[in-house]
């Protein structure tokens, strides 16, 4: 996934961005609030539960929702699903950024399957928020609506590249698509390497 982190000399004005934080931890809210204020974002609201978050989104539409996954009684996963199945189209199409301490592939995949646009792992930083906000701005994703899923298209395109492969690949592993839109490493195949070497000699 490309990132805007390396273009951090570019100026951005987040002054008009309306953010809704949904996190049941007050201290986490304070951290996020201070970071967002540092980014000159003034319109910040905070909900302490998924239910409250939905009500706040309904009363005044934010531009982006930052959602924690581990909440009680309704988890972030369930909340995002409710957003994506909402009757109001504007709420259904909201940009949702998941903020979580769960950094395993399984949890990221689950967040994606719930309908999150992007995932940002804790510890949170201004750079991380800046990067995700600008990435989401510059790379809007198409939405898919099926009988059992509504949300951003979960397929991330693995585009082909004709140039020289300059990746360091000491173990001889290969990159492939796992069929679920994820890039995976496949085991080294000595036979294939031999064939390639033979072809190179010819």
């Amino acid at each position: 996934m490309s990132s805007n982190l390396f273009g951090h000399n570019t100026k951005y004005n987040f002054g008009d961005l309306k953010v809704l934080i949904v996190d049941d931890n007050q201290h986490m809210h304070n951290i996020l609030r201070d970071m967002l204020l540092g980014m000159r974002i003034k319109k910040i609201r905070h909900a302490l539960s998924a239910k409250e978050g939905l009500q706040m989104a309904e009363s005044e539409l934010p531009d982006i929702m930052i959602v924690d996954l581990l909440m009680k009684p309704v988890s972030g996963f369930e909340m995002i699903k409710k957003v994506r199945n909402h009757d109001d189209e504007a709420i259904r199409d909201l940009a949702v950024l998941v903020l979580t301490s769960y950094s395993t592939v399984e949890h990221v995949r689950q967040a994606r399957d719930s309908g999150a646009n992007e995932v940002l792992c804790k510890p949170v930083s201004v750079a991380g928020l800046f990067d995700r906000f600008t990435y989401m701005r510059d790379h809007p994703r198409q939405f898919v609506k099926t009988s059992d899923y509504t949300g951003p298209d979960r397929r991330r395109t693995l585009r082909g590249f004709d140039g020289e492969d300059r990746r360091k690949n000491p173990e001889g592993t290969n990159i492939a698509d796992d069929g679920k839109g994820e890039a995976i490493q496949t085991p080294h195949n000595p036979e294939m390497t031999k064939q390639k070497e033979a072809q190179a000699h010819e």
Partner: protein
Amino acid sequence: MSEGKKPSSTPRLKADHEVEFYTPRNRLAEVIRPNTGHTLKEMEFAAEQRIRKLGENYPDIVKQAVASMKADLAARKPFKERLEDIFMRAHDLKGQAATFNYQLVGEVGKSLCAAIRAVPDLLEKEQDILELHINAISWALQHEHDDKVKLQKSELINSLHESIKKGQ
């Protein structure tokens, strides 16, 4: 496939499966304006000033979390519920500690979360392991920025993992 035998997996796309693609309004492009405002460095600097003030209270927040975990452990509730409450608190520490430069506290929180998810039954039998982790958070908070106990700090996480292995 012999007649009458059901296929081993259902087809991914049924004939009546409707898929609609659409591009929603890009609200972020309407409100986030490039080439005006501030650079990332300027934003980080402004945020850092604020976070520093917030960090002054962080040790109190960790102490409060430790006290709450001890109360959770002693509570008259089914063990699974108590464990889940402790997990939530440890999970918060894991996510926030590094922001305030308390990496070791975060690491102990992470170890506790991992133990709760991996060996809940063992923790029910050997509640000492839970207590050990909770006390380790207090110790980590006290010595996080103390270089005199560098070795003990580096061994803390390993010893917590060892305590789990021994219990198994």
